[in-house]
Symmetry: C2
Subunit: 90 residues, 2 copies
Amino acid sequence: MELTQIFGSIAAIMTTSAFVPQAIKIIKTKSTKDISLGMYIILTTGIFFWLIYGILLKQPPIIFANTIGFTLTFTILILKIKYRKTNGRD
Amino acid sequence: MELTQIFGSIAAIMTTSAFVPQAIKIIKTKSTKDISLGMYIILTTGIFFWLIYGILLKQPPIIFANTIGFTLTFTILILKIKYRKTNGRD
């Protein structure tokens, strides 16, 4: 495996799995008061664009990371909207 | 500008600027209770690896996005640790 691909793979695994503890935390606490709605709207959309970029560049680490990254950040976005009413505005 | 670079640039601007509303929210409310410490430790480290990957690939959108992304997520991580005492564990 090429050095570039090794770094890309480590980066992909870390920035993808990073959202797992946040999703678990929300599911456990049902609290999203401190989480920015704006952040997750912009982030989810931006990750979708990285996915297109990865497909055009034909770079597996970018495609892999952003497919899972999109799924996880979209989940957090939905949970933020779901618990918004009980947690107050934004 | 090549199509790949256009998608990469839009993605870079969005996933970079996404952390700005979260940082502003924390600075305003001084509350980080709902934010996962684990997420920001893993994310900041992972973004650092994306930066090395971008340098090796010589892809300006990856280098640009991850330099600013690292700065912002590292700021949120420091704020999370700073306000942790007053906001309870993790």
